[in-house]
């Protein structure tokens, strides 16, 4: 809300406060001033002058050449002037060369029809001090020569931009802000006048107003004013509205706005002749209907909307906006003023639905001062009468009384304040009850009864935010100033609340991947169905996105992700566009699912299965959606990975597997098995270069090269990145609870033998190794390390060789040649039996 300091000063004496001090005080009151704009006074080169001589311009009939004195000691200025009232012997406002008038109008030395002119004689309008533009401004003869005109007409002002929180509806007005300032600064308020000269007719004789639903409209005041001959607003009114960010429309509408800004109460004025049947009824709409608002838009009103009706039709959307047909125009003669209170919830619902957020709806939905309504009507009548007079329109006729429909008078509400409680909450042990009462009374609360350190107040009708004791305590704290409250650490029970191990686990995971050379990113979790189509997913997949936003930022961002893969791929693509083709990124994030869809998921896999649990606090049993925690990474292949020691190895499956093995080892996750995935698991990975990861029976996630077809849709070419995605909650479950260490001392040396076996080419190394370790006659072999896999020339079709170094060690002796030979023979035999393997 924009506030003019000058206007504000009509309600409170601020003469001793600078704009900065006022801004600081308002901010300290919780009425945050976001900015202060200062409106400059008239330029200092505009001074009082005296026309010593005025003679006709030799070359133009309508112009005069004036000799103007601005100081006895200075030479007269010769100024060409077109105003008819320019004449000898008057005091005028002289804009000397170099001055700047409102509207950034710079005064330069001129030459008008061959006569030089050193400045300008100004009209009231040019100076922005009156509407007068028919001639130049004549100043009183008592004016002293050379005096700055800014000292006579003060056009300076400060405009505060106040950001109000929704609880302070009482401060949506000048008087409300003044009231808070007054309480803080200990100053009295000036009340605006509501005096007017009434006529003899009564409002009720002119218009029959009624309320159909008292919940929808709890008070309705109407007032008829006749003969408000149209006029445009005087300068002060236009300026006042302008400074508060409003445009002038016509005198009547402007004054309703002026009073709304002044007192916070929205007002609507109708052209009386447009109200059919002489009626104005507040009603709740029963059937949907179209309505044309005063800005010419046709809107759909629905049952439940509150409307104002005349004898036949809707004339306004109550509390939101008036109608085209009944608005006050240049031809309006008599008006009906409506000042009311409408249901805040309904006004809000209607204005939200229609997208019509108006100054009126803003105030109604936050709450107005129901007790102040008659005063508002009278204040408006008083201003209309005096302002019309000011602009030269003969007396208008204001009805003798207002018609006031107030079916259920608002009951006073009482709140009890305990000193003890306030002292405890505010940590101010020296607070006294007298102080508190005085603070609260300065805000308009009325002391109802006081017993020792307990006081009961009735709260003012304009404060809707004072419902509980804590609200009064807050007011006391606010007026005392929060900086008066000390600062200390609480002393608490030493028992900490239990923290899920998942909290530190996530950060360990982050740390590990970062230490392995990957950079953490955080991306938006929004995605689209298209993203998952690109990943070759189908609608019946678990992975298909189903958590949908009702109001997304764009179509591409209308679903919540079910995997971090799409956004990581987008990042890789974008990085390649910036020639950064070595992206090594990871992200810890959530995936979002709909529970209801579990039954419809046909392609279930171990990774995507309805047994997910997540490690966050959740007390909502009814929830239809859930979230899983993922950690995902992508390593982009480097296209020209040359280093000074030779080629850099490309990011391939095994490189990423190395990262993961280090990751699992560091986290004490044991027995991670790489199984070949089937189509349901991760359709977006290369079927031959991907794996699903298991720890025992639990599927932790997947790793693999991007499917070439997916790479195509992400425009990633043939050097495909390698991806992995793990369920973090499951990884935590897979962490071994104990650290197992081989404790037997190894006193005797290990011996190794290199052996090479021919096996069927479709045998996985995992199965081969498992078989080796299963040899029942194995006594000394401890481990094997693969150093070659060969398939091709020299090896029979359908066969491959695994060459490995086998290690043997005993705990009680140094192994001799015989021992080794025995063990190798037994291995040869066993692998022969089990796998049909032969030694190569």
């Amino acid at each position: 809300m924009l506030l003019s300091k000058k206007w504000l000063s009509q309600y409170i004496d601020l003469s001793h406060f600078s704009a900065e001090e006022i801004a600081e005080t308002l901010t300290q009151l919780g009425l945050e001033v976001e900015s202060v704009e200062s409106l400059a006074p008239l330029h200092e080169n505009v001074v009082v002058g005296y026309i010593k001589k005025a003679s006709p311009h030799p070359n133009a009939d309508s112009l005069q050449v004036c000799e103007v004195s601005i100081a006895d000691s200075l030479e007269n200025l010769s100024i060409v002037c077109g105003a008819k009232n320019a004449r000898e012997g008057i005091y005028v406002a002289v804009a000397q060369v170099g001055s700047i008038l409102p509207g950034d109008f710079k005064i330069k030395k001129g030459n008008i029809r061959s006569i030089p002119s050193f400045g300008m004689l100004c009209s009231g309008k040019e100076l922005g001090v009156s509407d007068e533009d028919a001639g130049i401004l004549e100043l009183p003869s008592s004016s002293s020569l050379g005096k700055k005109v800014s000292e006579i007409f003060d056009t300076s002002d400060s405009i505060f931009d106040v950001s109000l929180t929704p609880n302070r509806s009482d401060c949506l007005s000048y008087r409300g802000i003044a009231r808070d300032l007054g309480a803080k600064l200990g100053k009295k308020l000036f009340s605006p006048s509501c005096e007017y000269k009434p006529s003899s007719f009564k409002t009720a004789e002119e218009i029959s107003s009624s309320v159909e639903n008292k919940e929808a409209c709890s008070r309705l005041v109407t007032l008829v004013i006749k003969n408000v001959t149209p006029a445009s607003s005087p300068l002060w009114l236009v300026k006042a509205l302008e400074k508060s960010g409003m445009r002038s429309i016509n005198l009547i509408v402007d004054l309703t706005n002026y009073v709304m800004l002044e007192l916070g109460q929205p007002i609507h004025a109708y052209d009386k002749k447009t109200l059919n049947g002489g009626k104005l009824v507040s009603a709740v709409l029963k059937k949907a209907q179209k309505f044309t608002t005063l800005d010419g838009k046709i809107v759909d009103l629905l049952p439940g909307d509150i409307v104002m009706m005349d004898g036949e039709k809707i004339v306004a959307i109550a509390g939101v906006m008036g109608g085209k047909d009944s608005e006050v125009t240049d031809t309006t003669k008599d008006i009906v003023i409506e000042v009311a209170q409408f249901s805040p919830l309904q006004v809000r619902a209607t204005s939200k639905r229609l997208g019509l957020h108006t100054d009126a709806s803003h105030r109604f939905e936050r709450g107005i001062d129901i007790e102040n309504i008659p005063f508002v009507a009278k204040r408006l009548a008083s201003l209309i009468q005096s302002t019309l007079k000011e602009v030269g329109v003969p007396d208008c006729e204001v009805a003798l009384d207002v018609q006031d429909i107030y079916p259920n008078q608002k009951l006073e509400s009482f709140v009890t304040f305990r000193l003890d409680r306030a002292r405890k909450i505010l940590a101010l042990p020296l607070l006294t009850i007298e102080e508190c009462v005085s603070f609260l009374e300065s805000l308009g609360l009325k002391l109802f009864k006081k017993k020792e350190d307990q006081a009961t107040f009735s709260t003012p009708s304009w404060r809707h935010d004072l419902a509980k004791e804590i609200d009064l305590i807050e007011e006391v704290g606010r007026l005392i100033g929060l900086d008066k409250i000390p600062s200390e650490l609480p002393s608490m029970n030493i028992r900490p609340n239990e923290e899920s191990p998942f909290i530190s686990f996530q950060d360990h995971c982050r740390f590990l991947l970062a230490s392995l050379g990957m950079s953490e990113v955080i991306t938006y979790p929004f995605s689209s169905e298209e993203d998952y189509k690109n990943l070759l997913c189908k609608e019946e997949d678990f992975l298909w996105p189903r958590v949908k936003l009702a109001n997304p930022l764009s179509e591409n961002e209308s679903f919540m992700q079910t995997s971090l893969v799409p956004s990581l791929l987008k990042s890789v693509h974008q990085n390649r566009n910036y020639s950064d083709d070595g992206s090594k990124l990871f992200e810890v994030g959530r995936a979002y699912f709909e529970k209801a869809s579990f039954s419809s998921v046909k392609r279930e896999s171990d990774f995507f299965k309805n047994d997910l649990k997540t490690n966050y606090l959740e007390s909502d049993k009814e929830k239809v959606v859930f979230e899983r925690n993922l950690i995902s990474g992508v390593l982009d292949s480097v296209s020209q990975g040359k280093t000074w020691q030779g080629e850099e190895t490309r990011s391939d499956f095994f490189k990423v597997k190395g990262i993961l093995e280090h990751f699992f080892h560091a986290l004490n996750i044991k027995y991670v098995e790489y199984r070949r995935p089937d189509e349901r698991d991760c359709p977006f990975l290369h079927p031959g270069a991907s794996a699903v990861l298991y720890s025992y029976d639990m599927c932790l996630g997947f790793v693999g090269e991007l499917h070439p077809r997916v790479a195509l849709s992400y425009d990633l070419g043939s050097l495909v990145p390698v991806l992995f995605e793990l369920d973090l909650d499951r990884c935590l479950d897979a962490v071994s609870q104990k650290v197992s260490v081989e404790t037997t001392e190894k006193k005797y040396p290990a011996v190794s033998r290199d052996l090479s076996f021919l096996v069927s080419s479709d045998l996985s190394f995992f199965d081969f190794k498992a078989c080796v370790l299963k040899n029942p006659r194995k006594k000394y072999m401890t481990r094997l390390e693969l150093f070659d896999v060969y398939e091709g020339e020299g090896v029979a079709e359908g066969k491959k060789s695994f060459a490995a170094r086998y290690f043997f060690q005993a705990s009680d002796k140094t192994l001799g040649e015989n021992d080794i030979k025995k063990e190798v023979d037994s291995l040869l035999r066993f692998l022969g039996e089990q796998l049909g393997a032969e030694q190569r």
Binding site: L426, L482, P486, P490, T523, N575, V624
Partner: protein
């Protein structure tokens, strides 16, 4: 007559010569060759011991004795040379031409980084853990009840306009949480007071421009116990701020309004660019305690919330909020892995 003596002399001389040769470059292989030549099963000494049988009866004991003496001498020399040889190898290794240590590294390029929001969050964990706080996380997909109603933001109330909310099509009244304050409700329903926790996480608002992101990060800090007051709120906030921004950090409190606290304040910190808004705080509203069945006459508490992204930008001097979420490798790889600056 002196034939065995001559033989011994020759042996001695030849061994000395071999030893001298070996000493020039006493690598393990050279010494082993020397040992085999002289002390091996088929070596020179073994040969002589074998030849001993053919010596005359008179000479045999004398020759044998001398041979044994020579044999142990050779053994001693070889052992000594072995010792020397190790030293020699060390010096040989040391004598290797030095590397150009300025050549770039191979296997570990300077890469690997944590996201600035993670780094800042970890710093906060460290501070709050020392103060005895625990960390709780909560859901991002949330019902209006937990995100609004239970936090004293009733249906259709203007205070809902303070946050532009994403709504879900799934289920009735589901939203993306607009604030981490929802965790207050989950935590209070799950735990009995006293409570002392922080809760970080992603939150969402329908806004997207240079200074607003539809997703950002908040951290909530909550204390509930008997006798918690506004001074405690200040105490914890100021301890936290000075830990983060330095001992002479100035903190300012402005009365403000958040429906779930009363009194509510906004918190400003004085920095290079003057006062900067950091977050909001206040004493937990009795209505919130009512929603979780805590007795507000017995327990009081405070809540404090702030933006992690904004904190990260401040601490690391970052200028563009949007860059935090674009996944640029070159941007992110500039950050370190260890939080404390």
């Amino acid at each position: 007559m002196s034939s065995y003596k001559e033989t011994l002399d020759v042996l001695r001389r030849e061994f000395e010569a071999d030893l001298k040769e070996a000493e020039k470059s006493p690598t393990a292989e050279v010494i082993e060759a020397l040992r085999l030549e002289w002390l091996g099963r088929k070596g020179r000494m073994a040969e002589q011991f074998l030849a001993l049988k053919e010596a005359s009866k008179e000479e045999r004991p004398l020759f044998g004795k001398e041979l044994n003496i020579l044999n142990s001498l050779i053994e001693d020399k070889v052992t000594a040379l072995k010792k020397e040889g190790k030293e020699f190898e060390v010096s040989a290794l040391l004598a290797r031409p030095p590397l150009d240590i300025t050549l770039p590294a191979i296997s570990h390029k300077a890469s690997g980084a944590l996201h600035p929001v993670t780094l800042v969050r970890q710093q906060m964990y460290e501070i709050f853990h020392r103060l005895g706080f625990s960390v709780f996380e909560g859901p991002e997909l949330e019902s209006e009840h937990y995100n609004f109603n239970a936090l004293n933001i009733p249906d259709n109330h203007p205070s809902r306009d303070m946050q532009d909310t994403f709504f879900l099509k799934n289920g009735a009244k589901m939203v993306l949480r607009t604030q981490t304050s929802n965790v207050q409700i989950h935590a209070m329903l799950k735990e009995k007071p006293p409570l002392r926790f922080i809760s970080p996480g992603k939150v969402y608002r329908v806004e997207s421009d240079a200074t607003h992101s539809p997703m950002f990060h908040q951290m909530e800090c909550v204390v509930v116990d008997k006798g918690i007051n506004f001074a405690h709120l200040k105490g914890v906030i100021e301890t936290f701020m000075t830990e983060i921004f330095g001992a002479d950090t100035k903190v300012r409190y402005r009365p403000s309004f958040f429906p779930f606290v009363e009194p509510g304040v906004e918190i400003d910190v004085y920095g290079k660019k003057g006062w900067l808004e950091i977050g909001g705080a206040g004493m937990i509203h009795p209505n919130v305690f009512e929603a979780v069945n805590y007795d507000s006459e017995v327990y009081t508490g405070y809540a404090f919330g702030f933006g992690l992204d904004r904190m990260a930008m401040l601490l690391y001097g970052l200028s563009d909020l949007r860059l935090l979420f674009e996944g640029s490798h070159s941007y992110h790889s500039q950050f370190p892995i260890i939080a404390k600056l």
